[in-house]
Amino acid sequence: MSMVKTVGINKSFGQLKVLKDVSLTVEQKEVVCIIGPSGAGKSTYLRSLNKLEQIDDGQIYIEDKLLFDCKDGVNHVKMPAAERNKSLLEVGMVFQRFNLFPHKTVLENVMLAPVHVRKYPDGEAKQKAKTLIHRVGLADKLDSYPSQLSGGQQQRVAIARALAMEPRIMLFDEPTSALDPELVGEVLTVMKGLANDGMTMLVVTHEMGFAREAADRVVFMCDGSILEIASPSEIFSNPRNDRTRQFLQSVL
Amino acid sequence: GGGSQSSGGLTLEKGTLTVGMEIGYPPMEYYADDGKTPIGFDVSMAKALAAKMGLKVKFVDTAWDGIFAGVDTSKYDCIMSSVTITDARKAAHNFTKPYVGNAMALVLLKNSAIKAKNPSELVGLGVAYQEETTADFYMTDLAAKGLRFTPYEYDKVMYCFDELKLGRVDAIVTDSLVAVDYVAPADSPFEIVWQGPADEVFGICLKKGNDALTAELDKALDALFADGTMLKISKEIFGGVDMVSAARN
């Protein structure tokens, strides 16, 4: 069973074709990193897996269940909205700009969705939230507001918040690029821990070190297309595609 | 008095005569120095009438603009607010018999350079009056007959006098009963240069068809004339002058 499978995804914003026939399969427990220049469509691809963007054409499967089969922007999979939304809960997401709820404490941020969406009883949700916050190393910040935390701490809360919904796959969209260089490490450490624990992950990142160390496969996207998929060692030492080589030269 | 039993059921609020007036029309109805106690001719008369009818009295201050709509929509029982009885108003409303004599008056500044001796000589001048009053109708009428002047309309008569004093208008046309009050003080800057025929009499105005209360009010009014109350009020307000008797002839 694959965790996420997309087949021939296309997506335009007005005249601009942002995704061109993107097909990719992420297996269970796999860590896949997506790299590529700005404007490549990396974020758009990630967001389309989560219904944050509506694709124009192509199929999206989550855990082998076909959720979207789109043609010209119309989804032809007939399925109750509730059922589709339930499947989408398997997909957790972490954003570049954290997007924590500023009016809620750390604990409240992590508990909110489990209580209101999963309908977990308060006590149970709180217990689980505390465990997760502990796991990302913020046990002493339970009652802090996001504004009282550093960027790295906020991003770790965001990871805990996503994990609280017990997703089967986590999407990360440049989780460290809004951070001061000194704070990048603490977030990457948490992410590596997750990977080691067997979480399936799809990570858009500019941190080549992380990709090299944690990824099973690296995907290079450019101008809306996937140009190369390879193991980290292959892609970093011997990129086959010219555009990949050029990109890696400029960032390494 | 004798009318107490019969009048009680005729009013909007049982046992109370609710009187609409545009308070701010000295000396007919205006506020005492405290800014909230109504006094003046119509106020005294209303109190006396209500007493005669065995009713309590309540005053409702109303903008002149809309005062007739107020009685039409039963916001008060009657208007005692220096309402001049005119044919047009009579067609749309009930009136009691007249209770005080009045005329149209032309007011200028003392020693004014303006030589107009009556309103039809106001050509080319700025004339202030209160909007929607008989002064308004009078001047609008003259305008329709071809008199060319500039009208300045105010919602309160006091602003007409302010304006004349400040020299921003040339003349005021208003009720003589008001004019006499403004020219009375020794240091008044105003003078009355013309008064029209004394047929601009005031009456109490009621909703069309409210004949029962109209009759009751007329009865009480007659009684006040008969027992000298009206004369007493007039002398009090107008410095000893009888302005009421003429209205009854």
């Binding site: 957790g92 709820f101 209101h116 | 506020y31 005492a32 405290d34 603009d65 006091m158």
Partner: protein
């Protein structure tokens, strides 16, 4: 000494006027805010006619003078259509209620734009994070967006409140005795403009007090910033 005594004697009627001014403002803005919630959501709605109606409402009430709206609602409408005659059996309320209606309808249009701006000022990321966590639109609104919008609403709603407080002076045109009408009454009877001074001071005090109160309220809602 005499002048002082005279001025002191004006205080009670001016304070009486202040009750009307403040009462009308509080009621009209409260009602306006509630009404404006529907207008704001309506204007952001995808249903074309709801959207059009709300836009037209807002355009109308923001595009014509409040004085004219007041005249229209108080004088013209009941004369044309007797169903709009308001009779409460109490003279004060017979004019207070139409004034309240005019001011509330007017304020709703302004508040709707304020609310719309506040909701649109909430970072798009908040909606996306909510979506990604599986929160439905109503949950997103009630748990995430509105609580954050409220704090941003306080300053402009406070501003609107002060605006209405001052616009309430228009009710002197329909002989409701607010501060302005009380002032004009005293001016009329004393034939002197001295009363404007305590009246203006009263307005300034009220404005200052409410500005301060809204400021406190804003602070209270900003703990998390």
């Amino acid at each position: 000494m005499d002048t002082l005594q005279k001025i002191l004697s004006w205080v009670p009627p001016l304070l009486g006027g202040a009750r009307v001014t403040i009462g009308l403002t509080l009621l009209a803005v409260s009602a306006g805010v509630i009404l404006s919630l529907f207008l704001a959501l309506g204007k952001m709605s995808k249903y074309k006619w709801v959207n059009k109606f709300c836009s037209a409402y807002i355009f109308f009430f923001r595009g014509t003078p409040l004085l004219m709206q007041l005249y229209f609602i108080y004088y013209a409408l009941p004369l044309m259509l007797p169903v709009f005659i308001i009779r409460t059996g109490d003279q004060f309320f017979d004019r207070f209620i139409p004034a309240f209606i005019a001011f509330a309808l007017n304020s709703a249009a302004y508040c709707a734009e304020i609310i719309r701006a506040a909701i649109q000022s909430i970072d798009k990321g908040q909606f996306e994070a909510s979506r990604a966590l599986g929160l439905s639109y109503p949950l997103t609104m009630s748990l995430v967006v509105v609580p954050q919008a409220i704090r941003r609403l306080i300053p402009p709603i406070g501003n609107e409140f002060i605006m209405v407080l001052k616009d309430a002076s228009l009710v002197s045109m329909i002989a409701l005795v607010d501060i302005t009408k009380a002032t004009r009454n005293i001016e009329g009877s004393t034939r002197s403009a001295l009363v404007y001074i305590p009246a203006m001071i009263l307005y300034l005090i009220i404005t200052a007090v409410f500005t301060f109160a809204f400021h406190k309220l804003e602070k209270k809602y900003s703990v998390y910033e």
